[in-house]
């Protein structure tokens, strides 16, 4: 599912807007989903960013979406759609928080006010892991199952574009590209990914219950 984060479109106007189409593949050429493509304008934004309320749900004891990109300053709500309680937390430098056991939607969203990657977990279900990418730029998108991401209506100008993914084997900095955006631009990355090692959720023979 393609995601857009265009908070300045109305302020900057569409007349001189450009589109950025990105494709992210792994080292074997396979499409990479859940990669965040971020375009950072070299010229400062002309209008203030107006973050909106974002949402990361818990469905079937997983975070949905698993990777969520938000602009810095965004409040994020963590509604629990499961029938069991969750205890959502993060120890990440960009945001430390703790939502003790709850069902439904916590009354107060969490404010993500520092750029960076925030890894979230559940203290009850250790296999649950999600990522919130807090972008300093309002221009970003997350790749879909085909590895594609589209950032529309970008103001023309110079940008630094980079890619982040939870399994990225190289530094995010090494994916940087400087581009001049005048009209539509297609970009493609081929990135090395580390194997994904997650805490087991599969059944263990003989458990639960043993005598």
């Amino acid at each position: 599912m393609m995601r857009f984060a265009l908070l300045l479109a109305a302020a900057t106007g569409g007349a001189c807007a450009a589109d950025l189409n990105a494709i992210v593949r792994d080292a074997r050429g396979q499409p990479v989903a859940d990669a965040v493509v971020i375009a950072v304008p070299e010229a400062p934004a002309k209008a203030p960013v107006r973050p909106r309320l974002e949402e990361v749900q818990q469905i079937d004891q997983e975070f949905v979406p698993r990777v969520k990109a938000v602009v810095v300053g965004s409040p994020v709500s963590f509604p629990n759609r499961d029938s069991v309680r969750h205890h959502v937390y993060s120890f990440s430098a960009a945001k430390r928080f703790d939502l003790p056991l709850y069902v439904g939607t916590p009354a107060k969203p969490v404010l993500f006010d520092t750029p960076g990657v925030v890894t979230v977990g559940c203290n009850i279900h250790d296999w649950m892991v999600g990522y919130i990418y807090v972008s300093e730029s309002p221009y970003f998108a997350t790749t879909d199952e085909k590895g594609g991401a589209h950032i529309g209506s970008l103001p023309a100008g110079a940008y630094t574009v980079r890619v982040w993914h939870p399994q990225l084997a190289v530094s995010e900095d090494s994916t940087r590209r400087r581009v001049e955006l005048g009209a539509a631009l297609d970009l493609e990355w081929q990135v090395a990914l580390k194997p994904e090692v997650r805490i087991r959720r599969a059944p263990t023979p003989g458990r639960p219950g043993r005598y």
Binding site: S83, V84, R85, H87, Y89, F91, D98, P100, L101, V103, G121, N123, I124, D126, P195, E196, V197, R198, I199, R200, R201, A202, P203, T204, P205, G206, R207, P208, G209, R210, Y211
Partner: protein
């Protein structure tokens, strides 16, 4: 009190699991001499239903029931059906996936075997603690007390009790699991158990003098006798690999070696190889 429990029950979680497997024992009779050692393979089935209830900010109580079947290919009289109940309490000592945890578990079950001498009521309690170090490595260690009560007294020798399958023991155990990829994990375990063991052999004066309960064990052969040997020490080392097929199915292969030391030189060893397919709907 009931009213306070109801909101918790509303957020309880049911978990069902079904296991099917094969288990081969090189010394199923747990005999000392080669001529008495009987190897056998069992087809095993298990169905379990658990309910986890939250108990505070980072603790949960689990109650469950299970049914098991084991069909031995050679020793038909040892085949059994079993039902059991279990309960446990587990809490994390902190926040996060690497926070250590402690747990207390108890279980009670009844086994109905092909031969009456092997019918038994089993119970166990354990205390354990563990810690996950990262996504790959998780460890646990603990203490367990197990008790098996043979249902029927079947004496064959005057002056000796007829319940060689009534056993009890205390075990110190440790286990670890290490993920070696996106789907595969290696597991390892070690345990030291002290207490009673049961050993089935043909007539043997040395074991006769060391035993404190004796009965016929026709499951292994008309000439086999079951002896209860007190004060045994069993060291167990195990290793295995688990392969996950998604979040609901896993295939587990384990190899376990047991070395039992008994006073009077009545030592024996055993190797158990098992393959189990587990499914959680």
């Amino acid at each position: 009190m009931l009213g306070a429990a109801l909101p918790l029950a509303a957020h309880a979680q049911w978990t069902a699991q079904y296991d099917a497997g094969l288990a081969h024992e090189r010394n199923f009779s747990r005999a000392q001499q080669g001529a008495d050692r009987i190897s056998d393979t069992a087809i095993t089935l298990r169905a379990a239903l658990d309910r986890a209830l939250p108990a505070g900010e980072s603790a949960e109580i689990t109650v469950g029931a299970e049914a098991r079947l084991a069909r031995y290919t050679r020793s038909h009289g040892a085949s059994y059906a079993a039902v059991g109940l279990n309960g446990g309490w587990r809490t994390k000592l902190g926040l996060g996936r690497t926070a250590p945890w402690i747990a207390a578990d108890a279980s009670l079950g009844f086994e109905d075997a092909g031969e009456a001498v092997r019918d038994a009521l089993r119970s166990a309690v354990s205390l354990s603690a563990g810690r996950r170090f990262d996504e790959r490595l998780t460890t646990a260690a603990g203490f367990a007390y197990d008790r098996r009560e043979q249902r029927e007294d079947l004496p064959v020798v005057p002056g000796y009790g007829g319940k060689p399958f009534s056993l009890q023991g205390r075990t110190l155990f440790a286990r670890a699991s290490y993920a070696i990829g996106e789907r595969a994990s290696l597991t390892g375990s070690a345990a030291l158990r002290t207490g009673d063991v049961e050993s089935s052999t043909r007539r043997n004066f040395a074991i006769f003098t060391a035993a404190n309960a004796i009965a016929n064990d026709p499951a292994l052969g008309a000439d086999f006798i079951a002896y209860r040997l007190p004060g045994a020490r069993t060291r167990t080392i195990g290793g295995g690999v688990t392969w996950d097929f998604g979040r609901r199915v896993a295939l587990d292969a384990t190899l376990i070696r047991e070395d039992t030391r008994v006073a009077g030189g009545l030592d024996y060893d055993n190797v158990i190889f098992g393959v189990t397919l587990a499914y959680r709907p």
